[in-house]
């Protein structure tokens, strides 16, 4: 009875997610930022941060059976990026992290078994990375840039991001398979 009550209390609020699961998503968000920061030291290639963002967003959704896991990870990563001053988007940084998360969540909602397939993961990674096009387009439109230039600018920004996003998603199927084999993921 007490256990039942505790479980009920634990699940209440915060999108109905367990605290330990929420903390794991928080760690995924931390890893996204750590790798972003670390690789900015050595590389200066457009879109390379998508490699880690897509990997950890897919991992978050693949490990936690919560429908908005990737979006929540993106939201946490966006907030942390704002707090730590990573990136140059200000409050618009949230958009850059949440949009890919939302796309991954939608993909997982439509095809729950997508984390086992390389092709589906790559597809989800590519579509999620392409959200960089939208975020760049929105920012440039708000600035009042010429339409054809907005398109080219967003295309340059998102093209490389898609390639890196696909590369990041290729790590997901073996990782999820192994975690399932170890019994870490049980759904």
């Amino acid at each position: 009875m007490i256990m039942k009550e505790r479980k009920g209390r634990e699940k209440a609020g915060f999108f109905n997610i367990h605290l330990k699961d929420a903390l794991f998503l928080g760690f995924c968000a931390v890893f996204i930022l750590i790798f972003r920061a670390a690789f900015r030291l050595h590389l200066n290639i457009t879109g390379h941060s998508m490699l880690f963002s897509i990997f950890f967003l897919l991992l978050a959704r693949g490990c936690i059976s919560f429908r908005l896991a990737a979006s929540l990870t993106g939201l946490l990563a966006g907030c942390m990026a704002i707090i730590l001053g990573l990136g140059k988007g200000g409050p618009l940084l949230l958009l850059r992290f949440v949009l890919p998360g939302l796309i991954i969540d939608m993909g997982a909602f439509c095809i729950p078994s997508m984390f086992r397939s390389y092709v589906l993961c790559a597809l989800a990674g590519a579509v999620a990375s392409s959200s960089k096009f939208l975020s760049t387009y929105i920012v440039d439109t708000m600035i009042g840039m010429e339409k054809s230039i907005i398109f080219q600018h967003a295309l340059i920004e998102s093209g490389a991001a898609i390639l890196f996003g696909i590369a990041g998603s290729f790590f997901i199927p073996p990782v999820i398979r192994r975690l399932k084999a170890y019994g870490v993921i049980d759904y």
Partner: protein, 225 residues
Amino acid sequence: MRREGGLLCNEVMSRYPDQQGMNIPAGLKLLCCTLLSICAFAARPVWALIVLSLINLLIVLAFRLGISFFKKEIRVFIWQSLIIMGLYSLRFGFDHGLLPGFLTSWQLFLAFVPGVMFIQTTPRSQVARTLSRIMPWKMAFVLSTSMQFMGLLLEEIRGIYEAQALKGGRILLKDIWKPWNWPDLVHCLIVPGIVQSMAVANQIALAAKARDFGKNNNRTYWPGD
């Protein structure tokens, strides 16, 4: 890995600012910075951009952000200007595209700089406290706790890395660049790292619940205070 782990932590931790300059509430600072960003998005004429630049410059001087801040932001501005001016020149020709491209880049820069200044002048705990007013308090807790335990998590993963490298896993920095070593990276480092992260998350959640976490919605202490 010890050096790399330290480097990662330093790179992220170095962004934790010390309170400097004037002591203004974080909420007010966030409001002012957001207003400045909105003004930059709306500013079209050159005089408006000059006025906004002067305001930003005054804030930078008032908060004594230093030469390194200028250097870093100017580098970002130059890089961004080159891309945008190049695109404008391709579209409208060199003569007609250069100035509009430069003005757009200037506007974009002014839209982002207030956010950077806010971060540079506000302690992490204050930002978390401010965010807790606009987001669910549990989420603010998860946010600040994950950031607080970032160092511990990196230490744990460093331990795993060293143990696996001693066992002969091809996960050294010189091996990671070769794609045929990536299965080793997955099996020896990524999977154990994820399992360890889950274990740490479970321990923190247990400790928080043992202290009746969730009974009182109004937090009085934030990590970093």
